[in-house]
Symmetry: C2
Subunit: 482 residues, 2 copies
C-alpha cells in the first residue's frame, strides 16, 4: 500500500537521483515516513519511480550518508532519523502502536489480494463482485437524478437507518416469506459490518461461533480479534451437515451458528430444502441462534433457492443478513440485518457508537432502486448474464482442467470451488499467477485445511478474460507439476 504517485521529471536539470533524494527527504520531513518506517525494496522503488535500480542505489546512499536511513542485510532499509529529530527530542516509533493494537491485521494473503485488486492491470479470476460490465449505469443515472430532485436535506438518519428504506426492505423480503416490520430491520454498511456489530454487540470474549468449513468468515480476523473462536463443521454439496451440530455444540458451547445457505462462499453450494428444515429444527432444539448470511440469494441461475431459514423462524432464532453489494453495487455499501427487535435495538446502538449510521445518500439511492421496480429488472438481467458466464467458465474448465481438477457446477452465486488434484503449492501458484498479473483466491484463506482448492469467480472477469485467464492458470499448474 506504499503507493507512490510521484515520478522524477527526466527533463529537469536536477539529476534524477537528486530528485529522488529530495522526494524521500520530504516524505521523512512530513512525518509520512516516520522513524522506523521500512522503505520499499530497491527493486520496488525502481519500478515506482520508473528508473534503473542503480539510480535508486545512488539516492539511498546519499540518504544513508545524511544519517536519515539505514539498511541491514536481509532486513531492508528503514528510516532511522530525521533532520529535526537530530535537533529536538528523539522521534516517535510508531511500530509499537501498529504492532500492539488489539485487532489482528488481515491475513497476509488477504492484504495482498486487497492491494492487487487496486491494480487496474490485473486479471481478477476470483473477485466476488459483479463485473463493471454489469453495472446498470443508465438506470443508476436515472435514480441519482431522481434522488437529486426530491432531496431537500441530508442529515443523520434514525439509529436503525432511513425509515423509507426499512419500509422497502420490509416489503421486499416478504417475497421470501420473511414478514417483519421496519422496526426489526437495521441498515448497515454491507453485511460485513453486521458481522462486526454482532461480534462486539452480542458476544462475550471466549464465545464460540460454529460455521461451515470452509467459510468466508475464516478469511476475516474480526471475530478472532474480538476474542471469539470459530469452529468449523463439515459440509457437503447439500450444505452444512446438521446432525453434526449437537455434538459440536455440546463440546464447544456455541453462541451462534453462522451459515451461508444459498450459494455458499467459497464453495458455491446450495443448501437443500430438507437440510434447511433439519438445520432449523436442530438449532431450535439446541437453542442455538443462527446468523443466516443470504447475500447471494437473488443470484440464482437455474431455479429459485428454497426459502430462507428466517422464513421458518417462529421463535426469533435467526438474524438474517442481506445486501445490495452482490446484486447491484458494492460501492453503495448498503446491507441489512433482520432480527428480534431488542437485538436490532442493541446492534443499532453499537452502530451509532461506531459510525453514526450509513451514508444517507446511499440509503436514499437504495430506496429508489427498491421502490421503483428497477431493482427487480436489474437482478433479472444479472441472472441471465451470470448464466452465460457460468456456462463459459464450466466450458473452459472442461477443456483445460478435466485431468487436473474437480469442481461442482454452481446453481447460482459467483463461485466455483476448484479442487486441484496434483500436489501443487497454492501459495506458490498464487504468487506465480500474481507475477503474470492474475489474481486467484487460494482455498486456505477460507480454512487452513483447504490447501488443495482455489475459489474461482465467474462474476467479475469478462468471458474473454475467463477463457484467457483460466487457460493460463491451467498452464501454470501443469508447469508446477513438471
Amino acid at each position: 500500500m506504499n503507493t507512490i504517485d510521484w515520478k522524477p521529471d527526466k527533463t529537469n536539470t536536477v539529476p534524477v537521483y537528486q530528485q529522488i533524494v529530495q522526494f524521500i527527504k520530504q516524505k521523512i520531513a512530513n512525518g509520512e515516513w516516520p522513524v522506523g518506517f521500512k522503505l520499499p525494496s530497491q527493486r520496488e522503488l525502481a519500478a515506482m519511480f520508473g528508473v534503473n535500480r542503480s539510480t535508486v542505489i545512488t539516492a539511498l546512499d546519499e540518504l544513508m550518508a545524511d544519517g536519515l536511513i539505514q539498511g541491514e542485510p536481509g532486513k531492508g532499509t528503514r528510516v532511522v532519523n530525521n533532520t529535526w529529530s537530530l535537533l529536538t527530542a528523539a522521534s516517535l516509533d510508531w511500530r509499537r502502536y501498529v504492532e500492539a493494537g488489539m485487532y489482528q491485521p488481515n491475513l497476509p494473503a488477504i492484504q495482498e489480494i486487497n492491494r492487487a485488486e487496486a491494480d487496474p492491470g490485473i486479471l481478477r479470476l476470483s473477485t466476488g463482485e459483479l463485473s463493471p460490465e454489469l453495472f446498470p449505469a443508465s438506470d443508476m443515472k436515472q435514480v441519482l437524478t431522481q434522488v437529486a430532485h426530491t432531496m431537500d436535506h441530508l442529515g443523520y438518519e434514525e439509529p436503525k437507518g432511513y425509515v423509507s428504506l426499512r419500509r422497502e426492505i420490509s416489503r421486499y423480503v416478504k417475497r421470501f416469506g420473511i414478514d417483519v416490520s421496519p422496526s426489526s430491520i437495521l441498515i448497515v454498511s454491507g453485511a460485513l459490518q453486521a458481522l462486526q456489530l454482532i461480534s462486539v454487540g452480542l458476544l462475550q470474549r471466549g464465545a464460540t461461533v460454529l460455521l461451515e468449513k470452509p467459510s468466508y468468515l475464516f478469511s476475516l480476523p474480526i471475530f478472532q480479534s474480538a476474542g471469539v473462536r470459530l469452529s468449523g463443521l463439515p459440509m457437503d454439496e447439500q450444505g452444512i451437515q446438521p446432525d453434526m451440530i449437537p455434538v459440536h455444540n455440546k463440546k464447544q458451547n456455541g453462541a451462534f451458528l453462522y451459515t451461508i445457505p444459498s450459494f455458499h462462499n467459497p464453495t458455491g453450494y446450495l443448501m437443500t430444502e430438507e437440510r434447511r428444515r433439519q438445520l432449523y429444527q436442530i438449532c431450535e432444539a439446541e437453542q442455538l441462534p443462527i446468523v443466516e448470511d443470504d447475500v447471494y440469494r437473488e443470484l440464482w441461475i437455474d431455479a429459485e433457492p428454497p426459502l430462507p431459514l428466517k422464513a421458518r423462524d417462529q421463535n426469533g432464532l435467526v438474524l438474517y443478513l442481506g445486501s445490495l453489494s452482490k446484486t447491484l453495487s458494492p460501492g453503495l455499501r448498503i446491507g441489512w440485518v433482520i432480527g428480534p427487535e431488542p437485538v436490532i435495538n442493541r446492534l443499532a446502538d453499537i452502530k451509532m457508537q461506531t459510525d453514526y449510521g450509513s451514508s444517507s445518500l446511499s440509503q436514499r439511492v437504495a430506496t429508489e432502486w427498491l421502490a421503483g421496480g428497477l431493482y427487480d429488472d436489474h437482478v433479472r438481467q444479472v441472472r441471465q448474464e451470470l448464466k452465460k458466464r457460468r456456462d463459459a467458465a464450466v466450458q473452459v474448465l472442461e477443456a483445460h482442467f478435466h485431468d487436473i481438477a474437480e469442481w461442482n457446477v454452481p446453481q447460482g452465486g459467483f463461485y466455483i470451488w476448484l479442487k486441484i488434484l496434483p500436489s501443487v503449492s497454492m501459495r506458490k501458484l498464487f504468487h506465480r499467477a500474481l507475477v503474470e498479473k492474475m489474481l486467484i483466491n487460494p482455498g486456505h484463506v477460507y480454512h487452513q485445511g483447504e490447501h488443495q482448492y482455489v475459489r474461482i469467480s465467474y462474476s467479475y472477469a469478462s468471458i474473454g478474460e475467463l477463457h484467457e485467464g483460466l487457460g493460463r492458470l491451467a498452464r501454470l499448474i501443469r508447469e508446477e507439476m513438471a
Copy 2:
C-alpha cells in the same frame, strides 16, 4: 426505539382492542417480540396506537389470558411464551446476548437523545449539526447530476479510499499548512469511525488516552468498551493546559492525547497559537502522540483559527481528523485521517475488516464538492449564517439568562457551554424539557463532573426557535429554582 408504525382501523368492524391483540400476536409470532421482550408501557402503547389506555388494558388482559405475556408490578409486561413454543422447544432468551456483548451500550442519556432526535416535532437546542435550512440543496443537486453523468461503475474502492478524493483532500489541507500525499490519507465514514479504528487498531487493552475535561469523547463508550481508559486534563478558555501534561502522563502512561483545539466540543473554546506551540513541544518531549480532532476548523466566525498542530508536525506525532459532516452534510458520512503512512496502512487494513470502505457514491460526491470550488463557496456562506445565529443566541441569553447563567461567546463552531448558576438538577431539567418537546444535552454526558452545564448549539434550530426555546428553557430553570 420500539417504534410502531401501525394504528388500528377504527372504521373496521373488528373491535379496536381485538385488532391490537392480533397485531401484538403477530409481533410475537414473527419473533420480532421474542420471549423476554419488554413491551412498551400501557401509556406508551395507548399513544402509539392512538387509543384510550383502557382499550390497551383490555387487549393486554386477553394476551395474558392466552399465556403470551405476563406483567409484574413495577417491572412492566414481558413476552413469556408464544403459540409455537408451547408445542416446540422453549424459546430463546436473547437477553443473555444483548446484555453480555463486549461493547457497552451508549449512556442512557445519549440513547434518549438519539431517540428524541428522530422525532420531527422536537425543538433541538443542542444538536451538533447544521440546520436543514443551511443545506445547499441546489448545489447538491448539481453535484449529484454531475456524478450521475460521469460515473461508469461503482465498486469497492482501494483500502485507503477513492484516490481522487484523497488527492483533493491532500490539496485542500495545504491551505492549513498540512503537506501530505494521498497515501498518508485514509477516508473514513466520519471522524467517529476514525476514533473507533484508532481504539482497536493502535491501542492495547489497558491503555490510557489523555484528553480535555470535558470532552465529546467522554460521551462515547467506544474507548471504554475496548478496554481503554480516558483521563481528563484541565482546560480553560485558551484550551487544554499543557503544563499539566507531563505529570499526568507520568502517572497514567498515556498512549495518546486527544484534543479538539478549534471550537472544542462541548465548550466552544478555541486553543490559542501560544497554547498550540506549547502543547506540541510538550507532547514531542513526552513522545506522546496526538489525535487532533479538527472537524470544526472551517466554522470560524470572527477570525481564522491558528494553524493546526499537524501543520507543525515534523516528527509524525499527530493523527489529524477532518470531516464534511459539520460543514456540509453529516449524511454523506465522509471524514479523513491523516498520519504517518504505516499508521494509515494499519488503520486502512482494520477498516477493510470492518466495512470494506466508505460509500463510493458519497466519496464521489465529496470529491466533486471539493474539486469544483463549490465547497469553499458553501462554507463561506455557512460562516455568515453561523454569525447571525451565534449573535442571536447570545442576545437571547443576555435577555433571559443574565442572572441565572454564565457563558462564553464562541468565536466559531456550534456550541455555547452554558453554566447554570442556581443549583438545579440537570437530569430533571433534561426530562422536563423533553416533556415540553425540547432537547438539550446536559453537561454530565461530556464528563460526570460537569453537572452544572448545558451544551447549547446555535447551529441547528432556526433563529426563531432559538428565541422561543431558550426563553422556555430559562423559564423551566426558574421554575426548578422556585
